[in-house]
């Protein structure tokens, strides 16, 4: 796919990312990211305002490299984290994809998402939802994610939130 992305292809890219998370194919998921990718879930500082500057304000997750994501993905399947044993089952739905900017080498997208999360241990479930901002970047093999910002609208968290749940 080493060509300019059409909006339809870009949307499909997001669906495929969500699909890899739902199938728990975490190694393939993390390979979607550039080595210096920024993955960011801001916290909220008031009822109306998420945090804006990760250097001076708190985030739920702020990873500034693929290495940092690899660590987290390693933990999920390490059998050393009781919060990840058993892993929850998830189903993401990504919609309302808008192309904000399309260049030869980058593309910025906005979308809405929901993620249904089912915890098999306690047979409990929860729906996280919010919006994504993706920056896709052209690389030799095609397109990768250089930046992903996840705004989590319902940020009062039932016990655990991990990368594959949002």
């Amino acid at each position: 796919m080493n060509q300019a992305l059409t909006p339809a292809h870009a949307a499909e890219y997001l669906y495929r990312e969500a699909h890899l998370l739902d199938r728990q194919r975490f190694d393939e998921w993390v390979d979607l990211y550039t080595s210096d990718a920024v993955y960011w879930i801001p916290a909220w500082k008031s009822e109306h305002q998420p945090t804006e500057n990760p250097e001076t304000e708190l985030s739920l997750v702020y990873c500034a490299s693929r290495n940092a994501l690899v660590d987290r993905v390693w933990r999920l399947s390490s059998n050393l984290s009781v919060a990840s044993m058993p892993l929850a089952r998830t189903a993401h739905a990504v919609s309302n994809v808008i192309v904000e900017q399309a260049g030869d080498d980058t593309m910025d997208l906005r979308s809405s998402w929901t993620s249904h999360v089912y915890n098999p241990k306690y047979k409990s479930q929860h729906v996280y939802f919010g919006s994504y901002e993706h920056r896709l970047q052209r690389v030799d093999e095609g397109w990768k994610i250089a930046r992903k910002k996840i705004t989590l609208m319902n940020d009062f968290i039932p016990t655990v939130l991990d990368l594959y749940m949002v």
Partner: protein, 475 residues
Amino acid sequence: MSKKDIASLVDDRPEDGVFRLHRSVFSDPEIFEMEMKYIFERNWVFLGLDSQVPHPHDYMTTTVGRHPVVVMRDGEGNLNAFINSCPHKGARLCHLAQGNRKIHVCQYHSWSFDSAGRIRGLKFKDDGQYSPAFDNDSHDLAALPRFEVYRGFMFGALSADVLPLSEYLGEARTFIDIAVDTSPQGLELVPGVVGFTFEGNWKLQLENCSDQYHFTSTHPSYLKVLDRRAEKGWEGTVRANVRGRGGRKAMQFPADGLEHIAGGSTSFEHGHNLNWNRRTVNDSHPLFERAEELKERFGEARRDWMFNTRNLTLFPNVQVAENASSQLRIIRPISVDRTEMLTYCIAPVGESAAARAQRIRQYEDFFNPSGLATPDDTINYEDCQDGHLNPVSPWLQGHARGMMLAGPDGDPFIDRLGVKALSSVIGGVELGDETIFHTYYRSWRALLQAGQRADEAAARSQPAPASARLVETVR
């Protein structure tokens, strides 16, 4: 009124080397009701930091026990705390977590109040045909019977019959001082609050903060991540202020006869305690840039304490956890098996931009329900709660480690601060003292029993209500 025998739930026999808790302490809804009434609603409760309301007319909302509370700074800069409920018909007055208002107008019938809680407008009062008796009641907001601030830590109580705050905090104040003194301007909350719930009793959180024994068992994934990063030279990842598996035992302290001591735990009166680990003064700590300055101001011993890992609990609802980063936690019990947590990154005012960013990264790495460590703690609380109703093995065995060491004068490190502890334990990395929990449950027991006694006395001094008398007769 409850006749529950509280003493029978805490098997506390130091002379026999026994301290056991009955599981119903965590799972009996009747006990939970008593805790709300006799601990959270008759005792000091942490409200927030005064730096959350820095300017005139700032306010912040919180709860005390089951009740909504608002802390306001008035036009002169004085702080007050009020029940966040309109005296007219009870509508909530302030709706946001924080804000700034000179005048608060109630949404329901427009009574208005200034930031000192005084009634400023009672809509259409003159045409209202009130009887003269109406003005026998104050129309101001109801102030909390007690409200005090210690070094920026604000506390309130729904009962006037509590100790002075300084006496309540007692010797534990030194560890508030140590946290606050890391900056000449004190502490602030980094913008951004993270809230979460867990399906477990609030005391599971209270204990876990003081529980050294769990660390290597609950957090092996985190420790392994640290080792992986160290192997890879930390490239693109967070450099942690705690050690992975390899580094933990290898830490070198000055050969002063105490180099084998890795840390300990210290208990104070009224349910407060601290557990701590020795750390060297090193540049993985955001405070390193001030290491020399702090030594000059406070002396080496106190400066070194600022670098130690310190988990401070001020009973019943606030913890200052300074380990992988620095966290302020507020515990809000919702029901016997559900708890809400509000968590903040707490930081010295005026630290450099690089130190602040490092602190925030270390915080997100370890804490947060989305971090690499906290979720493994909270899942454990839920798994504990699940078993706490079982009638087959009602007595827990989790409060006994360290019994052979605990005593009032066991800790030369605490002595360096001039602190008088109720009881201290020190030892190597594998000690995992559990006597630190005893002060929680001794205070807990004392408060519940005092509440029972007070209610019994009140009942004796009043004739029983008619309905109760009727029930007696029918029986």
